[in-house]
Symmetry: C2
Subunit: 465 residues, 2 copies
């Protein structure tokens, strides 16, 4: 009997039937990378319903020396959720809201809870969980924690890391780490939850978390602004932030990205023709009085100072949703292009975004003359989603060299090769080129200390030694 | 020759004379716990001026097997900065502001920079570093990071952890970890800086950090509110937060704490007689228009709803400073009392503060009948500074039992025995009673992985094995 067959027998003794899936047809959707970038393989799928079941699974796997790949909503962008021979551990059945305390502004949810459901649960008690991103209808809290997800409201609320007060996790030996706290302040030793956030499942299995809630905004306003240059976007960002104090999102989109997305059905662009750069600004406030005035004054000042070419405010929530829809469909917009393309998720200091766009653009042009650049994203955080697209199917398009050059351009400005998507499997080779060697050594030391058998998602983050 | 004498000889070869202090008179101030709770001992004091000098020191100490206690402004409250035989490493000479970028809203400073100087440096470029606490004239950035300092603006800006974008540190083997980044988003592996924040010097020496800056507020207003109960404080907190969106600090003080502090020269209390509870509310906003109106409306509504008994707004910056001065002098107020006392720094979920005060008060009364309670602090964060004071010098006052009971009361409500002061040496025995055993085991595993020789501040956090 193989090690995995023996393991499966032991698992059957301790788990309810619903927790074990061996039917290939039922497993298949969990193995497909959702953009078609590869298919995984696993001996079987486990779907525990409780933290004790997760603990049993991890302990038995550790004893058997069989590795585990945890999976949430299977919406990851760097291949970290796809097993290649590991046991697949889906947290989807652990999806309860365990508790909500609107007075303390906290909610405790299980790892498999879907983000949109968490939004709804907060809303039912008059509060709000502010993390929002395109995949919120599928992405789970456990996955969002394990990848330290970002999204469009990082500018105001921070990434997932800033929104988590406590974590329950199963350690690589099967012990349960009970770190579910609802505390704003707790200086009692190393803040271990920080290790699990962004660890991509490599240090244990996150099974539940206590999340911060916030008041629901009273004032809400979305504007689109036409801009000539990224430098102008930076100036607008500063004014919008400093003069209104209510900026919740600041996204930019270049003309190529807007044109490609505008070709999708139902998408509208408020300026015709589209300007070189379009900025989407979202404002929120607890007080309605004076809210719109301060934004209109700021926008008028930006036009007066020749920072902005034009600006338009969404006059209804429907119009605001239309503005957001242009932004949300950006990825779909350029995925339809048939010529080769390669995408990146870089960040730089906010002040270096214009230099990054200039330098990366020049590097791409050298390697693939005439290539189109799709650049959009969270300019308020210095995070640009940057895709190079070959001019024609015959154009030279050395994808690896292009990626290396884009990453070099970010790094030279103090930037990062992964702002919010993570490293996973797809970026682990590139990581070695850029990460501080002492940091890499220390990461390996932490991994070895917590997971000496290398059981937990062993293919992410680290190049095989 | 002893190990430390041999080490000193090697250090003299590599360090400039100014970096080595052996004169007992010059060392003495570094060894005194500032509230008189013990005196330390050290073979010599090292005062490096550069990160390379720190790296040399740590490497030579590690090779010699001699332990190190790092020290910042010597303002710690849990004994973590006081050596007992370890080499004392003061970061005070590393106090440069290395860079400020007001566009990216970041500043890179060395560990020895004093918080008040960091405030001033931010102000010179029109920005603001929001962490503020009583010891800001002495406390250093390195110490504030190593203890994950809190203070009065946590409610709006978070603790030190939320304000640090990057860290440079010397690892326990003398290697330099170069994690100085100015990025809002960087998902490239474990966020190692989180380990150094709050590690109390036990995982390495923080030598520099990149800090987040913020816009300076346009609207600023401080109010004092008279309250009957902690429950009313909680209701006021919710209204102030939700209805103004501008709440930056929410502090409460009980009548005993106010009366003791009012006895200090120059301190004034806006209500006579002092109410059972006094709340200090600070509001900040980027927009002046409508700012004061929204606060006055909120306060009037709280009085109308019988939540608040009375309220007064500081009508000048001088008056606002007077309000803050009552709060800032709270510790000095009860330190003058001559009967025995014992202090705590507990937190609970914000919604549990009233229950904590009730339960802790009952426990203290059982153990020391007639004892006075000084309770004040960051109610908006659930963090109460809680001191029990014996009624007379003859009263029974079992200090250890009282502390245990206060800690039990916090823990029973999901709370913490150290909200912002840390564990250090003074609280490490208590920690074992409350910390999740898996968390403690994991903390030890991390400590051993990064500092296998147990060189770095070996007496903090962990009970000797």
């Amino acid at each position: 009997m193989t090690a995995t067959a023996a393991l499966l027998e032991k698992l059957r003794l301790g788990l309810p039937p619903a927790a074990i899936v061996t039917d290939p047809a039922a497993i298949a959707p969990h193995l497909e990378e959702w953009r078609g970038r590869g298919v995984g393989a696993t001996p079987f799928l486990l779907q525990p319903g409780t933290v004790d079941e997760v603990a049993l699974i991890v302990r038995l796997c550790a004893e058997a020396g069989v590795a585990i790949t945890p999976q949430g909503g299977n919406t990851g962008l760097v291949g970290g959720q796809t097993p290649q021979g590991e046991v697949l551990l889906s947290l989807k059945r652990m999806n309860r809201i365990r508790a909500i305390d609107p007075t303390a502004d906290v909610m405790t949810v299980e790892a498999g809870a879907i983000l949109a459901n968490v939004h709804n649960a907060a809303q039912t008690v008059g509060r709000r969980f502010p993390l929002s991103l395109g995949s919120q209808g599928s992405a789970t809290i456990g996955g969002l924690i394990s990848t330290n997800a970002g999204g469009v409201h990082v500018l105001r609320f921070g990434m997932m890391r800033e929104l988590v007060l406590g974590i329950e996790a199963v350690m690589p030996d099967g012990q349960i780490f009970n770190g579910l706290r609802s505390l704003r302040k707790d200086n009692t030793g190393y803040d271990l939850k920080q290790l699990f956030i962004g660890a991509e499942g490599s240090l244990g299995v996150v099974t539940a978390a206590t999340l911060r809630l916030f008041p629901r905004p009273v004032g809400h306003l979305v504007a689109m602004v036409a801009l000539e240059t990224p430098e102008a976007a930076l100036q607008l960002l500063q004014r919008a932030r400093d003069e209104t104090g209510a900026l919740a999102a600041f996204e930019i989109m270049n003309r190529t990205s807007v044109k490609l997305t505008a070709a999708l059905p139902g998408v509208r662009v408020p300026f015709d023709p589209p300007p070189p750069w379009l900025a989407l600004l979202e404002f929120e406030n607890a007080v309605a009085e004076g809210f719109r005035d301060s934004i209109e004054t700021m926008l008028a000042g930006a036009i007066e100072a020749s920072i902005a070419q034009d600006a338009t405010i969404a006059e209804s929530e429907k119009a605001a949703a239309d503005f957001w829809s242009l932004r949300d469909l950006m990825s779909a917009g350029h995925r339809t292009v048939k010529t080769p393309q390669v995408s990146h998720d870089t960040s730089t200091p906010v002040s270096a975004v214009p230099a990054f766009l200039k330098n990366a653009g020049a590097a791409v042009e050298r390697l693939s003359p005439g290539a189109r650049i799709v650049a959009f994203g969270h300019a308020g955080d210095g995070n640009i989603h940057y895709t190079a697209i070959a001019a024609t199917t015959d154009s030279p398009f050395p994808a690896e060299q292009i990626s290396a050059a884009v990453h070099d351009a970010a790094y030279a400005l103090g930037g990062s090769i992964s702002a919010e998507h993570g490293i996973g499997v797809f970026r682990r080779t590139e990581l070695v080129r850029f990460k501080d060697p002492v940091a890499l050594t220390t990461m390996r030391a932490v991994k070895h200390a917590l997971d000496p058998k290398n059981i937990m998602n062993p293919r992410v983050l680290f190049e095989p030694v």
